[in-house]
Point group: C2
Chain length 230, copies 2
DNA sequence: CGGAGCGTTGAAAGCCCTCAACGTTTGTGG
DNA sequence: CCACAAACGTTGAGGGCTTTCAACGCTCCG
């Protein structure tokens, strides 16, 4: 992303707010007139099940648009919430209209960001459909580790992951009890650990093997704002 | 979609081909220079697991673009294959470039189609993460029924569904054996049945209840080519 | 007519869930 | 700074859903 485009995006921002932890930002069915860029913190998207449990659909890091698809679809089919206190920038859709018209490359980048979302969704389907508990947690850890790495937030295999075992269960289709047992297993095997809001990866190759993980789908070769290659 | 836009799309088509059943069209990692519109037949997208099993990611009906995301991402992160013999139209990406530039409304529609894909992905995540075997099959049936309905291919609750029990298992994260047992249950309970390439829905309300299904995410209120509402 | 793929059924084992209890950490107000 | 409560994490036992393994019938097609 060029400096000029970054500036354009920045100028489109209506306001920057700080949202409290564990707060719902948008509800399923809400009509959207602006999109949200996560600047600092952590957010998630989820669907509610009848029994009161949630199914997480996405975990968002700083730099992610959490609801750019709402720009085109106009309403959301799921809920959006913060995990921890988060700073977000809000961009009115009408300003995006102008950017789409006058800056096709920026339009291309916004489209691309929604497609990366979809690519992650596909990998979540794989995770839930084909992996056992250890594989699912390992796969989730691999994805978040690589994405955190891409924004320079991993140090010696350690990065912030402010999710409870309940949250991890809601992401991986497991109960918090089984998440606990499975994490213990990963820890005792010297593979990885999650504790006190931090993830620690001891043995990345083994973690990736357990997860059947291939970071291909993250399209990290050029970063989220990579430009067209031809 | 206006007649003019349909004509534009049609003129962008390079060729129309017939692909044999059960053939792989694109492999993970392939570099794409054209996109594929399914005209007649049935196709799917999937990821391979280590054990040789697949995880289906999407099931495609006539009228679906099966790889429009490849236009922006340039390579695919999963495989695309036919289920039955299928007729497809191929549209070179360079011709889409022109359409994007000159016809913003058409561009908007193509973007929208990829976002509908993502919305379906999310519902597949929910299906796999939160529902039991009966719920997963019921949810899949509800989705396909509504999408088939939208293209006028449901008659008295019956529609074509040329998937084997193995395929259904690969879509729902189940073994074919358990798909068999679960389908028998749904049949004996008078809810629905899949046999000889056809699905029969006996009791839609009950099916939807088992599936915790809400068709909201299909955005059918305006059809896949619905225009911006404001 | 034969074979291969698909569908069906049974039995046993395994993974994960449920229920329950208790220890630990975190955050808040006195 | 301490005390307390609430949320979170941990562990055990038992049960249920799904898988695995195996066998056999059916259907379709060469």
């Amino acid at each position: 992303m060029s400096a000029q485009e970054a500036e354009l995006l920045e100028k489109a921002v209506d306001r920057v707010e700080t949202l409290p932890a564990r707060s719902v930002v948008t509800r399923r069915g809400d009509r959207l007139r602006e999109s949200t860029l996560l600047i600092e913190g952590a957010m998630c998207r989820y669907l509610d099940a009848r029994d009161g449990y949630r199914q997480l659909l996405a975990y968002h890091l700083p730099g992610d648009f959490v609801d750019m698809h709402g720009y085109t679809l106009h309403r959301l089919d799921h809920d959006v919430a913060t995990i921890v206190e988060s700073r977000v920038a809000t961009i009115p859709h009408e300003r995006i209209d102008g950017m789409m018209r006058d800056h096709p490359r920026l339009a291309w980048m916004l489209w691309r960001s929604t497609l990366l979302d979809a690519a992650m969704h596909r990998e979540w389907i794989f995770r839930l459909g084909r992996l056992d508990a250890a594989g699912r947690l390992a796969h989730f850890l691999c994805e978040v580790a690589d994405r955190m790495e891409a924004i320079g937030r991993v140090k010696d295999g350690v990065f912030a992951l402010p999710l409870t075992q309940q949250d991890l269960g809601e992401a991986c289709g497991l109960t918090s009890v089984h998440v606990n047992r499975t994490l213990r297993r990963l820890r005792e095997d010297g593979i990885a650990d999650i504790a006190r809001g931090e993830a620690r990866i001891f043995d990345k190759p083994r973690l990736a093997r357990v997860a059947e993980f291939d970071p291909d789908y993250l399209y990290l070769d050029g970063g989220p704002w990579a430009e067209p290659q031809d």
